[in-house]
Structure formats: C-alpha cells, structure tokens
Amino acid sequence: MAKAIVAKNVVKRYITRVRKGLVRSVKKIIEALRGVSFEVRHGEVVGLLGPNGAGKTTAVKIIATLLLPDDGEVYVEGFDVVREANEVRKRIGLLLSVEKGFYGKLTGRENLEYFGALYGIPRSVLRRRIDELMKLLELDKLGASSRLYEEYSLGMKARLGLARALLKDPPILLLDEPTLGLDPPSARKIRSVVKELARNGKAVLYTTHNMFEAEIVCDRILLINRGKIVAEGSPEELKSKIPQMRTVVVYVRGFNPNDVERVAELVGVKPSLGIDEEGFAMLKFQVRKPEEVLNDIVKGIAKLGCEIARLRIEEPTLEDVFLYFASR
C-alpha cells in the first residue's frame, strides 16, 4: 500500500498587499513553507509541532487540497493533491478549527447529516455512522444530537468536528489543533480517540503547539519553525538530540547573589540564579553529564560557607527541545 502522506519539498508563499496611503499598496510576500518534506504512515500519529505562524495550518491545508503549493509535491495514498484532488478528498477526514465550521441554526445531527450527504455517504449507512460516532465521542451523553450547534460548548464543538472528520471512515485524518482551548475531559477524550484510531490503522497528522500533548499523543514529531522542519523523531529521540541535556537544580540556604561568578569558577559551569517560593537561592546548571559536576557543586558551595537544602536533576522536556530548535 502507498504511504499515507508523502510531502516533498513543499513551498508556499502568501502574497498580501499592505496599504500605504490611499491608493498605493505594497506587495508583501510571506514565506509560510520553505521546502518541507515528511512522510506519514498508516497506523501512526505524527505531530506537527511548532509555534504560532510556523506554517502548521498551511501544511494541513495543502494536504487537504484546500491550498495550492507553489512548489514541491504532496501525495495522499499515492494521489497527487493538485492533479487528483477528488481522489485525495475521498481519503481524508479534516478538522481545521474547533470553534467554527458548522451551521449554527442546525443541530449537531443535522450538521453531520448535511456534510455526510455532501460527502456522498448513502443515507442508511450515514444514520448508523452518526449514531456510532455520537456514542464514541460521548456526544449523545452531552445531549448534542438535538441541540443547535450555536448553543454548543467548545468541547462539544470539537467533538462534533472530529465526528465529521470520521464520518466517511477515512484512512487519513488531518487534525489542526483539535484540543485548542478545551478543558481536560474533552481534550483527554479526543486524544484517546485519536490514539485508538491510529492503533486501528489510520494515519493521523496532528498539529499542536502543546508539548505535553505532543509527547503523549504522537508516535513521531516533526518540529516546524518558520516554515521549515527543524527536527524530527520520536519524543525520546528528539530529547536526545539537544546537546545540553540535563539541568542540575540546587537549592541553597544563605547564598549571596554576588557569589555566582565564584561558583561558576569552582564548578566550571555558570549557573542561572533564581529564588524559590521558600526563599532559597535556586542555582540551575545546564550540563551534559550531571555526575561529572555534582562533586564540584557540593564542594564549591560548601567552600562559600552555604548549605545545600535540596538538589534535583531535571530530565529535558520536549519544551526544551522545542525552545532549543526554535531559537536556532
């Protein structure tokens, strides 16, 4: 079987006009994607993780045939998103925004029936499918079936959005920040459904800027920043890629802030200084191998006549990875 999604060197520039005065306007080119390549296989959740404006939504729209790339190629199960858009459209389920995208004056069920019909799902199949999805996403419990969409809470809107994406049971799901702004129960529900779907063989592209979420949902993460993929791998692989991996945090009683330079001399690494809520000085050492500096730290602080209250070694988080690559 062809790979679920293959993107090769995708480039997208937006051309906007910035008004200068009454008639004059200046063309401004925004490079949203600058040569992005990646693959998504069936049965995995791939996270597209990046800060605001990184190009996540742009990438999703291109795969969903809603935006023409300026350069590069994208294939969905072997079909070209530009030349064979209709084949692609039959294979993807899409969620672009959790807070919009349905008709407010229709109930959740009527909305799903409308889009189901538009997607060409036979009526008898559609009715059963909507019941299934309402149950799966616990929309029935929330009374979503008979309530108008405009009365929905954000959590219900997001669930309905995922339900629509799943209506035709597509092999590929494109979910753009599906948990943005949701409360923990709704977010957890959506994450667990997504993971379960991937276990059953669906390919999922999941964008988020929430590190914690990417770590628990995604099998693989693509870090995107300013239109480029800057790192790629499983959460563990990514963490091992940043050089200064661990942080030794030392809580010190009676520390004189002016002694930071002396500590740096004694240990060989300059710590950052903070104060914790109990009033201890908090010295943070970023090191590759904590075991090599621990002794020096303890001895150095003793030499200054201070006392160590607590000591902790922090493993890197995905956030560190994110910040590390985003700042490069």
Partner: protein, 269 residues
C-alpha cells in the same frame, strides 16, 4: 458524487433552517400580499387603478400579486447562489464544502432548488386565490401556469447567477457590497413590476440579456391577453432557454476560476 445527493443535502439544510424559523416561513407566505398592498398604496397616490389598466392592460391586484410571486421565486434562486459562498465563508464551513468530492457546478445548480420548491408552493396561497377571485375557474388554470413559469424563470437564471457570482468573488473585496448594488438592478431589469414594453430602450436591451425577463414578459402578456398567439410564448420561452444555455459554460468557468483563486490564496477558517 451525484446530483441527487447534493440536492438531498441542500434540501435537508433548507428544511432544518426553515422549520426552526417559523416566523420566516410566515413572512414568506405573506410576502406577495405585503408587497402588493404596498405597491398599490404608493401607486394610488400617483394615478388611479383605472389608469393602470389602461396603460398596462391588467388589473393592478392580480398583476402585482403575480409579479411579487415571480420576483420572489426568481430572486430566491439568485440569492441562494450569491450568498451561500459568503455565508459559508462567514460560518467557517467553506473549507469543508470545498473539500467534499462534489462537482462545484452541480453543487451550484442544486443549491437553489429546495428553496425554490418551497417558494413555488407559496403560489397556492397567493396567486391561486387572487386569480380565482378575478378570473373565476379560468384563474385556476392561469395560476398553475404562472407557478410553473415562475419555477422555469427561476431555473433559467441559475447559469447567469453563476457567471455573476464567480466574477464578483474573483474581483474580491467586500463582495456583499457589490451584491447590494447588483441585486436591485437585476430586480428592475427583470421587468416584474415595470413591464418591459414600457422601459426606455437601453434598459430594454439590458433586460433582454436576462433569461428570466422573457419568462416574466410571457406571464405579463398572458395576463394582459393581448394576443392569443401561442408562437409568441414559445419564442419568449425559447429565448430564455437559449440564453440560459449560452451562459452555462461561462458560469461554470467563472465558478471554477473563483475556486482556483481561493485555492491559491487560501481559504480562511
């Protein structure tokens, strides 16, 4: 993805919306009467109903009831085609509509049908009773013909509406403002309230380009009973059909060009 499925989807959409807003349904039922009352009230300040009969050759009440009904059917189609993309963009549903494997041209043809069918039934409560009042049993026959022709006039407008919609959306900017200018212009040029044979020449030429205007003329002529010549009606309806067919390729090109433009610029969510 067949036409029937799209039609079914749109029908569900319109029905669900309409049932929820009973007041809108009620207003639609009253609309021909309100418009007729208004026009006749204003008209009476300028001239007597007798003068109207002399100039137009039709009693004012049936004329305006029929005209309002025609206007409602014909403009309903144009409105559906004009506004649905704007509405979808506003609701954030446009990307999901575009990402459906639906033929865009079929979609735009199917779009106005459900509402049109509902509107045609409104003829039963407006055109039918008034025609019976004025023309007796023969009025039933005329009312049925008027309703059928209203449906026909609305349908032949679809392709031109697609041309205009595509062109306007491609031009960009605040499309709804342009629509607010074009809509009343179309209403006047249709000649529903102001028979075409009374228009100035340039307006007549413009009016000729609108397929439903010929259907409107046929209805007016039938009411005026100027001639019993059947050929005349066939010519008028034939011209309307021919124009509609002529606009079809332009309409579909225009819609596809608009979609293409959207895909280049990105559809906002």
């Amino acid at each position: 993805m067949g036409f029937i499925e799209i039609l079914y989807a749109e029908t569900r959409f319109v029905w669900a919306g309409l049932l929820r807003r009973k007041s809108a349904l009620f207003t639609a039922l009253l609309y021909p009467y309100i418009l007729t009352a208004f026009v006749i009230l204003v008209g009476s300040t300028m001239g007597s109903p007798q003068l109207f009969v002399v100039r137009v050759g039709i009693e004012p009440v049936p004329f305006f009831i029929v005209s309002s009904f025609m206007l409602m059917s014909i403009m309903g189609v144009v409105d559906d085609i004009f506004w649905k993309p704007l509405f979808d963009e506003f609701m954030g549903t446009l990307p999901y509509v575009i990402a459906s494997p639906v033929d865009r041209v079929l979609y735009f043809v199917a779009l106005p049908l459900p509402r049109l069918i509902i509107v045609l039934f409104i003829g039963l409560s407006s055109v039918l009773p008034v025609m019976i009042m004025y023309y007796g049993v023969a009025g039933v026959y005329e009312a049925v013909v008027v309703m059928l022709l209203a449906g026909f006039g609305a349908l032949v407008f679809a392709t031109l509406a697609m041309c205009i919609t595509g062109a306007l959306y491609i031009a960009g900017g605040e499309t709804w403002r342009s629509l607010n200018v074009i809509r009343p212009l179309l209403m006047v040029l249709l000649g529903v309230f102001y028979p075409r044979w009374l228009m100035p020449l340039t307006a007549q030429y413009l009016s000729w380009a609108l397929p439903p205007s010929h259907v409107v003329e046929a209805v007016h002529r039938m009411l005026a009973e100027t001639t019993g010549n059947a050929v005349q009606y066939f010519v008028l309806l034939g011209v309307a059909t021919a124009l509609a067919i002529l606009y079809a390729p332009i309409g579909s090109t225009s819609i596809r060009a608009w979609e293409r433009k959207k895909l280049r610029e990105g559809i906002s969510v």
